[in-house]
Symmetry: C2
Subunit: 195 residues, 2 copies
Amino acid sequence: MSLLDSLTEALRVLPGVGPKSAQRMVYHLLQRNREGAARLSAALASALADIRHCGRCNNFTEAEICERCLNLARDASQLCVVEMPSDLAVMESTHAYRGLYYVLMGRISPLDGIGPRELKLDKLIARATDGTVQEVILATNFTNEGEATAHYVGEMLRTRGLKVSRIARGVPVGGELEHTDLGTVAQAFVERRGW
Amino acid sequence: MSLLDSLTEALRVLPGVGPKSAQRMVYHLLQRNREGAARLSAALASALADIRHCGRCNNFTEAEICERCLNLARDASQLCVVEMPSDLAVMESTHAYRGLYYVLMGRISPLDGIGPRELKLDKLIARATDGTVQEVILATNFTNEGEATAHYVGEMLRTRGLKVSRIARGVPVGGELEHTDLGTVAQAFVERRGW
Ligand SMILES: [Zn+2]
Ligand SMILES: [Zn+2]
């Protein structure tokens, strides 16, 4: 296989990139932006080498434990469970929450072959039962998969004696945090209910 | 800037990738396909190091002169000018042509700041006036830009005493070779006219 074909094929690991757009990308990079292509190659290599999951919140980080988890100003008695780092970012933008997080890095999604085992929920259990966490707030999306995840995780943690709440359904049904206005997300947080 | 942000930004060199899809790509690569990300990083680096433009046809190649240009079985008296490597591939698929090619790697496009100088047409002139080429066949697209390019290149080469032809307008007006059925492209080639 030529280097050109290898590169075209390699670009298809990117979600949403089909054969035609991979080819367009190759031409663009080689013809118009070799510097950008070099930056991309290096950024990928650095990210792979140095980005790992935080030992506490499971979010991406370059450290063993991320800065947020080490921040003593945050309320360690509350643990907010979100699906993805982008959801954590949305919660932070609302300024409605001062506790800590756990990022699932996914959701239960049988169609994609992602069950409780693939989500490695053991790590969440260990984190939530550290003795400091008093309340777990489920802030997964209100999609079918997010709801199923909240049910599963909520049940799992309640069984272990934890107080579990769910952010309110102020987020439109079927909606995703990332596409919801901040006011609604903040309200949903305030109105969270026992689970 | 964190490695995560660097990677997100670096992915935006890809055409059609905005901030949201760059973020999705980062999550996907780091979470679900680190092996694919490593392959992509390496493929980019190899391509940048070893892919250059063929000294004759200007197409991408790993050699000084590409295999097609070195193929003595091809008719060196005909030179077909196309915009992109993908257009060359379409012409080849028609099996209607046995001559050689010149790939412009673009088209005259004032809106994108691409004029005759950016296309480095000197290389085409040198190639077409090597004494062996008898006929230059213009096979740029029938878009406004492709037509303008054909006019400009055709005039430029005719002034230098070359016989110039244009593939027939069998390709739908406004259409692109890449999206035209092979039969039409083959017919357009056969019915090319003096330019
Ligand atoms: Zn953390
Ligand atoms: Zn060549």
